[in-house]
């Protein structure tokens, strides 16, 4: 009655927002011509054409003639979309239950908010896939999910097409947490308002017990299910899967002793596929991890929370990793906890560099007068800015640094989430890799916090700066990370038949000044900064 074409145009209601654009057809072949292609497994190809069709990489042609309609940016590098193997994007209080310790069957894939702005932030930093893990608010947080950061149909009526994340793997691992986090919210039943926080664990002891208790329950449950004497229990089913090796286990552990607890429990309880998340102090027991065959997804050593950038690896850390000694008199004077800050922070004597080439890259980092590393990739101008910014802080910067280095963790008197394992070091990945531990890098909360300078690619850059081989660092955020996600057959590699998740960088992706200029997810352009 009302609709008339003419009226439709003439008497149109004013719209307050842009109308969603429809996705372009997928059957067209797009071609990208690049000078350098980082395949993701360490290989690089020069001067290649990459063809994308139907969301997949359909061909990689070396040295071909560049078609006129090909996407080409001079000097650009192409990598597979980055894979963040450890992320808390959109993971918040609605996705993790605090009223109970065991919510093993809680599925992150079900409760995650796909329209969260964090995904867009991550995408803009080149991250196309993320392994989302339940937060550490209870011991058994639930099951993790793998998402692509874009390409999903948005539920938001006001959003652009493809702007939502999409789940590509639901219930891919069980997450459990050790350490302070799980107990910090709980308290004894006296002296405070009643509520579900009056419960165990309030300590590490309780957290470890909760893990053991549930797994022993699961073992009994498995037997009872066999002889039909138990009803289906959603939580224990998940634990049973872990015990049978059908579901990987992710354990958040930051401190040395927590990591060693994981090792002990793995043997005691018969865990088969274990990844330690964050593992801030893993360099203290890298050899144990190697011997036990447990892999590590290193938490962000470089972000504004841990302020590892302010401390960097100490000499003691580096030496301890290179030649793990018992706590011994010979080392006391250069002990981690006795670092002499009056001189302005740890100093790296020349002879160490000469005798120990392993960490040369890390040791040669130029530092300012406060012992803070100066990024060698910064050009002069930036360098100057960096210096002056620190200069403005003058005495304050030093004080902050002192705070960071105060051995609060080890005294055991501290509590709270982010004081745990504050010996974070950007050299963690390099140290673990050196020790032969299967390791990848994760950005955890970086993208949640709009801390783009802590984003995944920056973790890789920082790791390179502290001694990791560049090709390894890149693999740790692409191919190897995809393996951690259980998705190595479709993402993380620039190879024919793989998902066309590609990032075109303005230069070498590991250069601090490079930025993504074109991002494809499933062959669709999700970000275009070419202009």
């Amino acid at each position: 009655m009302i609709s008339s074409v003419l009226l439709g145009s003439l008497f149109a209601f004013a719209s307050t927002s842009s109308v969603p654009v429809s996705a372009p057809a997928q059957d067209q072949t797009q071609t990208i011509s690049v000078d350098v292609l980082h395949v993701g497994n360490g290989e690089t190809l020069e001067n290649v054409l990459i063809q994308v069709n139907d969301g997949k990489i359909s061909a990689i042609i070396p040295g071909g003639k560049i078609p006129s309609d090909a996407v080409r940016v001079e000097g650009a590098h192409l990598t597979p979309g980055l894979v963040d193997a450890f992320s808390y994007m959109a993971v918040n209080q609605t996705t993790v239950e605090e009223s109970r310790e065991t919510t093993a069957s809680a599925s992150l894939a079900r409760s995650i908010r796909l329209a969260d702005p964090a995904f867009q932030i991550a995408l803009a930093e080149g991250v196309t896939t993320a392994f989302l893990t339940p937060d550490s608010l209870n011991v058994f947080g639930g099951m993790a999910a793998v998402v692509k950061t874009a390409g999903g149909q948005p539920a938001d009526l006001f959003a652009d097409a493809g702007s939502a994340a999409q789940i590509i793997g639901a219930d891919v691992a069980l997450k459990i947490s050790l350490g302070n986090d799980v107990s910090m919210g709980n308290h004894p039943p006296f002296g405070r308002p009643s509520g579900f926080y009056s419960r165990r664990p309030t300590t590490r002891m309780g957290a470890v017990w909760e893990v053991r208790r549930q797994f022993y329950r699961a073992k009994r449950y498995m037997e009872q299910r066999k002889n039909g004497s138990a009803e289906v229990d959603a939580d224990l089913e998940v634990l049973a899967k872990v015990l049978r090796g059908e579901m990987p286990l992710r354990v958040q552990a930051r401190r040395n002793n927590d990591i060693q607890t994981v090792l002990r429990l793995a043997v005691e309880l018969g865990w088969k596929d274990v990844t330690i998340e964050e593992a801030t102090e893993a360099f203290r027991c890298a050899d144990l991890l190697k011997a036990a065959g447990i892999q590590v997804v290193a938490g962000p050593a470089y972000d504004q929370r841990s302020r590892a950038i302010a401390s960097g690896p100490s000499l003691a850390e580096l030496r301890m990793a290179a030649d793990p000694p018992p706590i011994c008199c010979e080392n006391l004077h250069e002990d981690l906890f006795l670092t002499n800050w009056e001189d302005g922070g740890p100093v790296y004597p020349k002879h160490v560099c000469e005798t120990d080439t392993t960490f040369r890259a890390g040791l040669e980092v130029p530092r300012n007068q406060y012992g803070l590393p100066i990024d060698p990739n910064f050009d002069d101008h930036d360098d100057h800015d960096h210096e002056s910014a620190m200069g403005d802080l003058s005495g304050l910067a030093l004080d902050l640094a002192l705070l960071v280095r105060t051995p609060r963790t080890a005294t055991g008197l501290s509590s709270g989430r982010f004081s745990e394992g504050d010996q974070a070091t950007p050299a963690l990945a390099a140290l673990l890799d050196q020790a032969g531990v299967t390791t990848v890098l994760g950005a955890a909360e970086a993208h949640d916090q709009s801390l783009t300078e802590s984003s995944l690619i920056h973790q890789a850059r920082r790791a390179v700066q502290y001694g990791l081989a560049p090709e390894k660092a890149l693999a740790m955020v692409t191919t190897r990370a995809a393996e951690f996600c259980g998705m190595a057959d479709r993402i993380g590699l620039a190879k024919v038949g793989y998902d066309a998740d590609l990032v075109l960088w303005s230069g070498d992706p590991l250069s601090a000044t490079s930025r993504p200029i074109l991002i494809l997810v499933d062959g669709q352009v999700m970000l275009d900064n070419r202009n």
Binding site: M1, L6, L7, L10, F11, A12, F13, A14, S15, T16
Partner: protein, 462 residues
């Protein structure tokens, strides 16, 4: 006077009351007036089944020609291509629509506010809303853009933008129309927004505050006069002082010449000292002005109008008294008890803006309609409005409810269009389909614009 909705429909859908459309009255400025550039570009003609013109006249069929967003031709005949010596010009663009065209509604009391005012935590009593209207709305103030779009789509062509805080004085508000870019543009008189605070019981305080505001301003003006007088006196005494000073200096110089001779003479010294230097007269201090005071004085001088939000009869009477004392150009909003002072209001020529939402008040709904009629009967200008709330889109629907409950349909329609336009000083541009008026119109099918089961579209000029 009361007619039912059916009769309204019959009245408006019957044969055209005006046989020759050229007889339709034109506002004096319309002819050859400079057309304001509001971003509308095109010239075209809308051909509708009929159109409601001013004063209840209906034109059928209706050809309304718009140029740059303004109605330039009203006729029941199709416009012809202009002929000249060189032959006929391009064929005029005609858009055929089904339904009846009517003037866009004027909401004299709405919630449309620019961000600067909406988010202002410390409202200044003398801010000018017109100054806060953004230059570009869509990017700069999305909430305002959305609000304007919502008003538009509900058929509102013009509204009043003023502060909505509870202060005695709220600065200068301004009636606005909407331009092509969802941008409110000022049109009509500026109003000094005032409020008599307090409910029926505590209203005395509000009245005192209101009167103080004006008497202080008048007092200030008086003190300016006093100052002038004092200034004249001062200048005179200043002259005197100069003369005395010259004399004094002369004498002193003489004394100095003597000094060398009579060093030892102590008495002489004493005499010298006793001859005092003349005192400089003090300059009278000028009375200190404020922007707020200047605004009040502007209102007293008739440069701007006054808009008072007031509910109780006592407050209304105080406002009327103020109007009589200072000969203000005044409009009242709210006015729960206006009916008690309807004859005073009529005598003073003060219009009132009612909140149409009151019709829903279960207990007072019928009373509201009665009051509406009584005010009209007493020949008070009455406008219906959305009451400063997010109810702009419901304005027409609620007004329809009044008709359902027995209000006079023609009166209700007038109270939504021509009356508020007149009260806001924008009668030549809004409130009726007339030459020179805004092309923001509504198109409706069915019985009336109040029928949501039938076609209803808001026309935004191109």
């Amino acid at each position: 006077m009361a007619v039912s909705a059916c009769s309204l429909a019959i009245a408006f859908s019957g044969t055209p009351a005006v046989a020759n459309p050229l007889d339709a009255p034109l506002s004096p400025q319309a002819d050859g007036a400079e057309v304001q550039d509001l971003g509308f570009k095109r010239t075209y003609t809308i051909h509708a089944d009929s159109a409601w013109l001013a004063d209840g006249r209906v034109l059928s069929p209706a050809y309304i020609t718009l140029t740059k967003g303004v109605i330039t031709r009203i006729s029941s005949r199709e416009p012809q291509a202009q002929k000249s010596l060189l032959g006929s010009g391009p064929k005029p663009k005609i858009i055929k629509v089904d339904g009846t065209l009517a003037a866009g509604v004027v909401d004299a009391w709405s919630s449309v506010l620019p961000a600067e005012i909406r988010l202002d935590r410390r409202p200044l009593p003398f801010s000018k809303v017109a100054d806060d209207l953004p230059i570009q709305v869509v990017g700069a103030d999305p909430a305002l853009a959305a609000a304007v779009a919502a008003q538009r789509s509900a058929g509102i062509a013009a509204t009043y933008i003023g502060r909505a805080d509870g202060n005695l004085m709220r600065g200068l508000g301004v009636p606005v129309g909407f331009s092509a870019h969802d941008l409110p543009y000022a049109g009509g008189a500026e109003f000094l927004d005032l409020m008599v605070a307090g409910d029926a019981l505590g209203v005395q305080r509000g009245i005192t505050d209101l009167n103080n505001l004006f008497s202080e301003a008048v007092g200030y003006r008086d003190s300016v006069d006093d100052y002038q007088e004092e200034l004249e006196k001062y200048e005179e005494s200043l002259k005197k002082y100069q003369e005395e000073l010259d004399k004094f200096i002369k004498e002193q110089k003489k004394e100095e010449g003597k000094e060398g001779d009579s060093k030892a003479d102590g008495e002489d010294d004493k005499e010298k000292k006793e001859k005092k230097r003349p005192k400089r007269p003090q300059r009278p201090s000028p009375p200190v002005s404020t922007t707020a005071r200047d605004m009040i004085l502007d209102a007293i001088d008739g440069k701007i109008s006054v808009r008072v939000q007031v509910e109780s009869a006592a407050g209304i009477r105080a406002a009327i008294a103020l109007q009589e004392e200072h000969n203000l150009n005044m409009m009242l909003v709210g006015c729960d008890e206006a009916v008690q002072c309807r004859f005073e209001l009529a005598a003073a020529g003060i219009g009132v803006v009612l909140d149409v939402n009151r019709v829903h008040n279960k207990a007072n709904g019928q009373r509201f309609i009665d009051q509406f009629q009584q005010l009209l009967d007493a020949e008070v200008d009455v406008a219906l409005s959305s009451g400063g709330r997010n109810l702009g889109p419901m304005l027409l629907a609620y007004a329809g409810e009044m008709i359902a409950q027995g209000a006079d349909a023609d009166a209700v329609w007038a109270a939504l269009t021509s009356t508020p336009a007149r009260m806001l000083g924008m009668a030549s541009n809004f409130g009726q389909i007339n030459r020179g008026c805004s092309g923001s119109m509504i198109l409706f099918g069915g019985n009336s614009p109040f029928d949501a089961s039938a076609l209803f579209q808001a026309h935004q000029p191109k």
